[in-house]
Amino acid sequence: MNRRPTIAEQLARQGISRRAFLKFCAATASLMALPPGMAPAIAEALGKIRRPSVIWLSFQECTGCTESLTRSHSPTVESLIFDMISLDYHHTLQAASGEAAEHAREEAMKEPGYLVLVDGSIPIKDGGIYSTIAGISNLQMLKDTVENAAAVVSIGTCAAFGGIPMANPNPTGAAGVQALMDQGLIARKPVINVPGCPPIPAVITGVLAHYLTFGAIPPLDALGRPLNFYGDSIHDRCYRRPFYDQGKFAKTFDDEGARKGWCLFELGCKGPTTHNACATTKWNDGTSFPIESGHGCIGCSEPNFWDAGSFYKALSAPADPLSFAAGAAVAGAAVGVGMSFMNRAKKSSAKAAHETATLKDLEK
């Protein structure tokens, strides 16, 4: 296939009217969290770009990210976007298996400039033997595939930051894609991190739509996450925020406060330090998000969230039990008592050495 069709051509081929296309662009703008005024720009851009090839690599993962994506109710904007890309390799979704599947990947890699999507972390300990596909280690496969890629999108917290496989004690030496680039183990390419456990389907497709529409990496934060989805913390966008400010907190999951929908901070909500779009984009087709269902945010789109102490411990509370405290108190008491004996000894020896001064002494 020499000339991939433009996305507008693709949609026209499906018999979609300009009016429908306009609606699609408006919905896409909303999906990408762009101002609604951007819809014409999207329409124009979609008229120009070609259907790109996408290779999706799944490493140490639970398929939750793919599940999230495929659970987006079809047909939706998301599914239309998937019509726009040519998903050439995805070992869960593709029909081919074994040799044929790997062959599809090798074929897709022949034309540089494809997009690589990764879910799952990559084990690098002991030569990467802890996870292999078709006898190729994950690290080797990623290295080969990234070589000619235009960009890499890390889908899910595992691919972005290492996630659960990297959690203490990290037996497989798991790492995220960005970390491997930083260590020089794979070629350096532009990376978009789309963390979450799993990420919101609309966010996955929104980021892809942005890349496809504008052919460029969206503005990213310091952790490589698109600002239009990860720019705000859950806390700042949370509809329960007014309760936090008023000091109204649920203390247990079944008290008065919990029933009245008060703030879940004291029940361990990690909303203040978590950046994601859950509070606005929501889950299950805009139904709700965890806090709306009465459970605090667990911070799944942040690095090391698994090692950040209990999900049910308030952010301001200690992450681990204070194991040194009792020992330190005893040691402090021991030192204090020791010092007081020393001081007493000093005092009594001073008393013993005391001589009554006489007039003679003063004349000396």
């Binding site: 310091a222 411990k313 200690p318 681990d320 330190a328 008491a333």
Partner: protein
């Protein structure tokens, strides 16, 4: 180390170390100070109205006549920042959660806007006392490195806490980590500097008052 790792460290091992040093230092010094004792005063006690340890504890909390006018910054700002600190430290909801986790006690919190205001007043008062310390030749002469150092370790937790809540300067996660870190520095430093007055203030007042009462002097 990214900001999340820093936050995890300060919430975990960092806090563990800081609380341990704080407890060790505090208990050590309390034992040492209170076991010192004093030589018995063999003179006959002279009684005077209003002269006792307890009187002094109360009286030293008020400015002596005329002093409020002569040194308004010391008294007004001094009071303002001490009360402000108490409000910020003990009546902000996340702090109460921390205390509850540590010792199991909890009480109602103030709305965060009130705590914000208290934090601003505290910082303003602390800056005033610092400026006063630098501007007044006598105060400056009496000041040592420790005075400036303890001012800084007290001021930083309030500043970083306020910046974190208001989302200023740095991302919240980073600022929160720095805030907790600054409190940990305060905890480590407290038992070994003049900040130990949080534990000894009233006892030393009582002691002075009692010694002077023996001599018949209400101070």
């Amino acid at each position: 180390m990214n900001e999340m790792e820093l936050l995890n460290w300060v919430r975990g091992p960092g806090l563990n170390i800081a609380v341990a040093v704080f407890l060790l230092g505090t208990i050590w010094r309390l034992f040492e100070i209170y076991s010192l004792g004093r030589k018995q005063d063999l003179s006959a006690p002279r009684n005077a109205a209003g002269a006792s340890g307890w009187h002094t504890v109360v009286r030293r909390s008020m400015p002596p006549p005329g002093m409020l006018k002569r040194s308004p910054v010391s008294y007004i700002s001094g009071y303002a920042f001490h009360i402000g600190l108490a409000i910020v430290v003990f009546l902000f909801a996340p702090h109460i959660v921390l205390i509850e986790n540590l010792i199991g006690l909890s009480w109602p919190a103030l709305p965060s806007q009130v705590v914000d205001l208290a934090a601003v007043v505290t910082m303003a008062a602390m800056v005033l006392v610092l400026v006063d310390r630098i501007n007044k030749p006598v105060k400056q002469f009496l000041s040592t490195f420790e005075d400036y150092f303890t001012w800084a370790v007290t001021f930083l937790p309030v500043l970083t806490g306020y910046l974190a809540v208001q989302h200023l300067l740095l991302p919240y996660t980073t600022m929160l980590a720095l805030h907790i870190l600054s409190v940990e520095i305060l905890l480590v430093v407290l038992p070994f500097t003049k900040l130990f007055h949080v534990f000894t203030l009233f006892a030393s007042r009582w002691y002075n008052g009692n010694a002077n009462a023996h001599k018949g002097v209400p101070v």
